[in-house]
């Protein structure tokens, strides 16, 4: 075999080039992250130190906003409400979640698989839709309320603090359930068998071994629920309006957008207080996350060790659990679907005798509704792709480059976790006000895509990270030595290997963007409305029918996307 291949011409490189495209791109990504996070946050910080609204020319710096807000009894009332709401929904939600986790994973309750699917539904449904469902079924004129009243039984008032807590707790419950059940099914069942052999009774094992085993997961879910409950806008907004129960999120929304006189200073100070408080919780969360890895004892394979036999309680308890899940999950969801197909929903008329498609016709014929649906799909689809690629770039920069400030970029990219949607919306709104040149953005869905990307940067980042970390960095090194630049490695090696992770992250962001509306409430204008903002508007104008139709359309899209995503190959590339 004659193989006198040509030698590679030696590039005469006297010195390294002054700038490399790699570094330029890395800087651009880093600056984009910093810009994205700073853009909505600085106006709030800045405004808190200004006497007049930040867009006014003659302004003076002062610290007087802080004492003024802290001396305002209305603010303290709102803080008090928020504390009660947060603690209530966190405690109730966590307890229900733990209860379900133990019952489903560690006992022989009948039909556990079905129940598991059922009780995680609220997690995939937007809180706004859930709130509508509860209002339609259990509100003062709700289907169930009226039915019970007709039977001559005492009824309840959903539009109260306990009502808010109940509905929110059920919305948050799947979080605790998912963390605890995965921790429970990973915990080594031999630990429990050992206690059994030592002579302990099942209930004692449950309390002394099983529950302590999942304590880290419980604590983590608890803090996560606390953060989510402070951020939650929809349920207090829909159910707390008539009783005028204001929590921080609704207070921010109403003061900024509804009441005629916007007090910029107060808003800024309240926003900063909320962010600081959530920051503390997030730090606690990070701390717990580290602990959890140390604590959980993983046995490798997932096994169901049903140590607790319910005995004669099995069926009665099963009945109670199914009744509870049915009444709190299926009934509100069924209610919103029925509402979508009827002109009005009432216990006094058999809804199946007045079925109609009118609400859906309206949804597709009315310009406002149609545009909202199209916008939501565009934001979720196009925005989802843009955000996924951006987040992949950020994750690759922080984990797979020698960029000098990659640590700082990673930290900044996580920071939006401390910002509720309402505050992000407010920040973007104020940023646009103070840069009139960017006003053109305001009327497009692009500002929504940008704001959503900022809000969910941490989500996308943490969705991408494990897959990136799984890929051995020798693969990058080998490609570099073979003559590729960093960009080449990303294009030829990392992105192809990350394809499944990119698809999964896209699906996650698609669904999240489709449901998101609290940021949009502050930013949308005629023409850039989305499904969520439109539902809320229509609902406020007293039109539950079209709102329900929009809700059903959103649910359908989510269902289809989730079904499609089950075809994404989860097997990772073999190495």
């Amino acid at each position: 075999m004659a193989a006198t291949a040509q030698t590679r011409p030696i590039k005469a490189i006297a010195k390294a080039p002054k700038w490399r495209l790699d570094r330029v791109i890395q800087w651009l990504i880093a600056l984009a992250v910093v810009g994205l996070v700073l853009f909505p946050t600085w106006p709030i910080l800045y405004q808190s130190l200004l006497e007049k609204p930040l867009y006014e020319a003659s302004n003076t710096l002062s610290l007087q906003n802080f004492p003024r807000v802290l001396g305002n009894p209305k603010i303290w009332q709102v803080i008090g409400n928020t504390a009660v709401f947060m603690l209530g929904s966190t405690i109730v939600g966590t307890l229900i979640g733990i209860g379900f986790a133990v019952l489903l994973i560690r006992t022989d309750l009948p039909g556990a698989q079905w129940l598991q699917k059922l009780i995680t539904i609220p997690y995939y449904v937007s809180a706004l839709i859930l709130a509508f469902g509860w209002a339609v079924m259990y509100g003062p004129q709700g289907f169930m309320t009226v039915m019970v009243r007709e039977w001559g039984l005492p009824t309840w008032n959903l539009y109260t603090m306990p009502g808010l807590i109940m509905v929110s707790a059920l919305y948050f419950m799947p979080l605790t359930f998912m963390y605890c059940s995965s921790s429970l099914s990973m915990a080594d069942p031999q630990l429990e068998s050992a206690a059994r052999i030592a002579g302990a009774k099942p209930l004692r094992i449950l309390l002394r071994i099983t529950i302590p085993l999942i304590r880290p997961a419980m604590l983590y879910a608890l803090v996560l629920t606390m953060v989510s409950s402070i951020e939650l806008l929809s349920i207090p907004l829909v159910l707390g309006e008539s009783a005028q129960i204001d929590v921080l999120s609704t207070f921010l929304y109403r003061t900024a957008l509804v009441s005629g006189t916007t007090d910029y200073g107060t808003l800024a100070v309240v926003a900063i207080m909320v962010v600081l408080f959530i920051s503390v919780l997030v730090m606690l969360q990070n701390h717990l996350m580290k602990q959890e890895r140390r604590f959980v004892s993983v046995s490798g394979k997932i096994s169901r060790a049903r140590v607790l036999h319910l005995g004669w309680l099995r069926w009665p308890l099963g009945f109670v659990v199914y009744l509870f899940a049915g009444l709190t999950i299926l009934v509100p969801l069924g209610g919103i679907i029925l509402q979508a197909f009827t002109p009005f929903l009432s216990a006094l008329i058999n809804p199946f005798s007045i079925l109609t498609m009118d609400n859906f016709k309206q949804a597709f014929e009315f310009e406002t509704y149609r545009v909202a649906i199209i916008n939501s799909l565009l934001i979720a689809g196009v925005g989802g792709v843009v955000a996924t690629l951006f987040m992949a770039a950020v994750a690759l920069l922080t984990y797979r480059s020698k960029f000098p400030m990659r640590g700082a970029v990673k930290y900044i990219a996580q920071y939006p976790r401390a910002f509720p949607g309402t505050i992000i919306g407010l920040g973007f709104l104020w940023a646009l006000l103070s840069f009139p040149a960017l006003g053109g953005l305001r009327n497009t869905i692009w500002i929504l895509i940008i704001a959503y990307t900022m809000r969910y940067l941490p989500l996308g980042f943490s969705a991408m990270s494990p897959s990136i970390l799984q890929i051995s960095d020798e693969l990058d090194r080998a490609a570099r030595v073979s003559g590729t630049t960093w960009l080449g490695v990303m294009r030829h090696i990392m992105l192809p290997l990350l394809r499944p992770a990119l698809l999964t992250t896209f699906t996650l962001l698609f669904i999240t963007f489709l449901k998101e509306y609290s940021v949009a409430l502050f930013l949308f204008t005629r023409g850039s409305q989305v499904i969520g903002t439109t539902m809320l508007e229509v609902w406020a104008q007293g039109g539950p029918g079209p709102a329900a139709a929009l809700a059903v359309i959103q649910l359908l899209i989510i269902g289809v996307v989730r079904w499609l995503s089950s075809f994404i190959p989860t097997v990772k590339v073999r190495e």
Binding site: M1, A2, A3, T4, A5, T7, R8, I10, K11, I13, K15, A16, R20, D22, K402, S472, E474, L475, R477, A478, A479, R480, V481, S482, G483, T484, T485, G488, H492, I493, P496, L497, V573, R574, E575
Partner: protein
Amino acid sequence: MSNIHHDSAGLTIEHLSKMYNRSAKALDDLSLSIQAGELVSFLGPSGCGKTTTLNCIAGLEHPDTGTIRVGDFVLTDSAKKLFLQPEDRQLGMVFQSYALWPHMTVADNVGFGLRVAKIASSEIKQRVATILELVGLGHVAERYPFQLSGGQQQRVALARAVVTEPRLLLLDEPLSNLDAKVREQARTWLRDIQKRLGITTVYVTHDQAEALAMSDKIAVMSAGKLEQFDTPQAIYEQPATRFVAEFIGATTFLPATVVQHAPTLSQVSLSDGTCLEVRTALKLQQHQTIDLGIRSERVQVATSDHQTNVIAGAIRSSDYLGAKWHHQVETTIGALMVETLDYTSGNVRIYLPPEALMVLKAA
């Protein structure tokens, strides 16, 4: 098969230092130079900085100080703030995990560097085929890496590293993932290919037998420092430091004093008065204190022919290893390991041939 012509060049490293954190130096003022076409092994215990050195040569790590040149082509020069990116260095590298890209076929893996260099696809095809033929894997070109055995993967990794005709080949423990049998074959095979290509090669390993068998020269490292840089024979016969002696197989060290120095055989005495003859290239002074390293595989049971270097001892325990017996012997100068072919027990006389004794400068 005709030789593949190669214009590989020598490698020069000067004053290379690297710190990952303030407390410990991963590399501490490392200097050495390798001739064109040589295979040099970097040998040392885990964490001594072998991979760091290799990565500095490849441009995957940024050294704090030092220069690295291939021929007169400067890769890194900290004084001139010059640092060439890995992709501009035109090197070949084989990684410990082989690092084959799982989403590409064997042919695509091997041809990647050529594609990046924008070489015509017909030429790429031909060169990939040639090199796969050379490593004996022409028939698996269209397979994916996970469909190959460990030994085959290692060959693909080598093919990928040399197909671009790099001026320098870097190998980071390329055989450590193979099981013992395959490893010995691969060792011979690798050395053969390297000689045929005539490519300057830096080979990292922590296996001393591998280093001794394959290398033109060995660089023994410890804690980021170069302990000794020499031919395998010199390393084995004349370890420069106790660390090298220990790493290369000495088990026992004893302090001794020089009684008489001569170019061929010198006399030293141990603390208990035992006199031994040793052979060393070191210039010794009378009364100088030295360390004596004893290589157990060369210690024998004495016969009547042996007059000098004989000490008395008693076997304490014996292990049967199949081909030979391994004895733990208590002697007047301490415990020694002795190997014999037949079973022996009780009191024995031990012969320490001069080749079993290494003279080391006292620490």
